[in-house]
């Protein structure tokens, strides 16, 4: 029952909620980002990060520092935090935490399959995989030739198995099919996660279902924009949209017939939240849409911390951690390539 979580949430989740709020207190603030943006070299960045929670991870890096090293160590910190929480969680929090990583698993699967298609070495690909989405037998993905084999050899033992029922065809894997497969899997994952959160009830379901609805709508808009001008038919496009969210079902109908960016903007006029996002961009400009969506996502994620006794703070912390790593990557790249003028184009301030 919504409103009475405070009475029994702390039995299993109180300690971990306090831990995750401690981690969130360690996220970089606007003042930290301003300091980082003033840096001249990557070593300055390392020095500034030495005062933050990343200190133990970056302390031993040898001096000619690369952006990939910074990003790898910062991601490692996020993974360590996640594993610390997962090892102490009980049901249903442990299942909730595992659901957060399935998106990364899907990305890793698609990365390896695409890489094998282009004849790349498996070990090189495994190093590029996101650590949160690793599972045993991931290396075997490289031998699969079509989707049925992919499922039968590797994925049937992973948590992604139930998402494959709509994907299994005997067609060979090529560029287009792989993108369609990625989006179909992600659609099934989001719907499964949504059902799971609804079943949990209380504050968790209210807050998480809002966050997932935003994610589903954002993916629908991105799929529409990315498939403009490709061979993806309208019906195929519509099949990739999730069955929940503000845009379901009438917004999906309008999006599936859009043929350019301004038509998408017109379709979104009726939904105040998304109309506000598109209003920040002037006509014809689509590059800043990603940043506008990230800003909106960060705003919604920080709001979850206003309420106590629910699981959405864990989801929010993982997403905010990923956003922070993206910010650090952008700042490091701008500093390394001496393009400081563009540094504020890519940084989304969290606090």
């Amino acid at each position: 029952m919504y409103g009475f979580e405070a009475l029994n949430f702390n039995v299993d989740g109180g300690y971990l909620e306090a831990i995750v709020r401690g981690y969130k207190a360690g996220l970089l603030t606007t003042a930290d980002y301003n300091n980082l943006c003033q840096c001249e070299h990557l070593d300055d960045i390392k020095m500034h990060l030495g005062a933050s929670d990343y200190a133990p991870y970056l302390a031993n890096e040898p001096s000619p520092l690369h952006t990939s090293a910074i990003v790898e160590k910062c991601t490692q910190k996020l993974v360590d935090d996640y594993n610390h929480m997962l090892s102490q969680a009980t049901e249903p929090l442990s299942t909730f935490l595992e659901y957060i990583t399935y998106g990364h698993m899907i990305d890793n699967v698609v990365l390896i399959v695409t890489g094998s298609l282009h004849e790349r070495d498996v070990h090189e690909l495994l190093e590029k995989c996101h650590p949160l989405g690793m599972f045993d037998s991931i290396a075997t993905l490289a031998v699969a030739q079509n989707m049925r084999e992919l499922y039968r050899l590797v994925l049937v033992d992973t948590p992604l198995a139930p998402y494959f029922s709509e994907c299994i065809t005997s067609e060979d894997l090529d560029e287009m099919n792989i993108e369609v497969m990625r989006n179909t899997l992600y659609k099934a994952y989001l719907e499964d996660f949504y059902r799971f959160c609804k079943k949990l009830g209380g504050a968790t379901s209210t807050i998480m279902c809002d966050l997932l609805a935003f994610e589903a709508d954002r993916r629908a808009i991105n799929i529409t924009i990315n498939s403009i001008g490709t061979e993806l038919t309208r019906d195929d496009r519509k099949k990739l949209y999730s069955n929940f969210g503000i845009l379901y079902p009438y917004g999906h109908d309008e999006l599936s017939v859009c043929e350019d960016f301004d038509q998408v903007r017109g379709a979104m006029e009726k939904y105040p939240a998304y109309q506000g996002i598109f209003a920040k961009l002037s006509f014809g400009e689509s590059q800043m849409l990603d940043k506008a969506f990230y800003e909106e996502e960060v705003k919604r994620l920080t709001l979850t911390f206003e309420q106590q006794f629910h699981y959405a703070v864990f989801f929010a912390y993982m997403r905010l951690g990923e956003q922070e790593v993206r910010n650090l990557m952008w700042i490091s790249e701008c500093v390394a390539q001496q393009q400081k003028s563009r540094i504020h184009d890519g940084v989304v301030m969290i606090f």
């Binding site: 405070a6 009475l7 702390n10 039995v11 109180g14 300690y15 971990l16 909620e17 306090a18 831990i19 709020r21 401690g22 981690y23 207190a25 360690g26 106590q308």
Partner: protein, 177 residues
């Protein structure tokens, strides 16, 4: 339908129960449910306090006040139980109206104190949990949230006061001359 109409028989069900039954249950409720409230409040505060103190160890000593407020609720329950127990005297006329009144007032006193302390303990526990988290982020918030806790712990005191007033009028009849 017929059951409800035989109301005389229903009143007999209460009138034939000895007042000592009601008094004993009242004393049990007074201490049992108060301690339930205190324990519930302490675990709500304690689990959050332990987790938050990992990152901000300075909060531990100050936030023990929340645990102490919850503990006070259990002490109220024990004190009232002892007071009620001293009011319980043996009598040779257990079904005298004055006797029945004494039994009922001890029962009512027990319920009052028990449930007032239950919700007071819960209230202080939940606020204490939020207090620990806020203190870990910003130490100026502690004293302000403590004021809310103090108001919350007054609820238990109200229950104790009313319970003691209820039980003070419990007098058992002496033996007929």
């Amino acid at each position: 339908m017929g059951f409800v109409l035989w109301w005389r028989e229903w009143t007999h069900a209460f009138l034939y129960m000895s007042p000592f039954v009601f008094s004993a249950i009242g004393i049990a409720l007074s201490v049992g449910i108060s301690v339930l409230g205190a324990a519930w409040g302490i675990y709500i505060t304690g689990s959050t306090l332990i987790g938050a103190a990992i990152r901000a160890p300075r909060i531990t000593s100050k936030n023990l006040i929340s645990v102490i407020f919850c503990e006070a609720v259990a002490i109220y329950g024990v004190i009232v139980a002892i007071i009620l127990q001293t009011k319980l005297e043996n009598t040779t006329q257990p079904f005298d109206p004055e006797s029945m009144r004494a039994g009922y007032s001890l029962f009512a006193s027990g319920i009052i104190v028990g449930f007032a302390n239950l919700v007071c303990g819960l209230c202080v526990g939940i606020i204490g949990s939020s207090c620990a988290l806020s203190d870990a982020q910003n130490s100026t918030l502690f004293v302000k949230i403590l004021v809310i806790e103090i108001f919350g712990s007054a609820l238990g005191l109200f229950g104790v006061i009313v319970g003691i007033i209820m039980s003070s009028q419990a007098s058992w009849p002496s033996a007929p001359i």
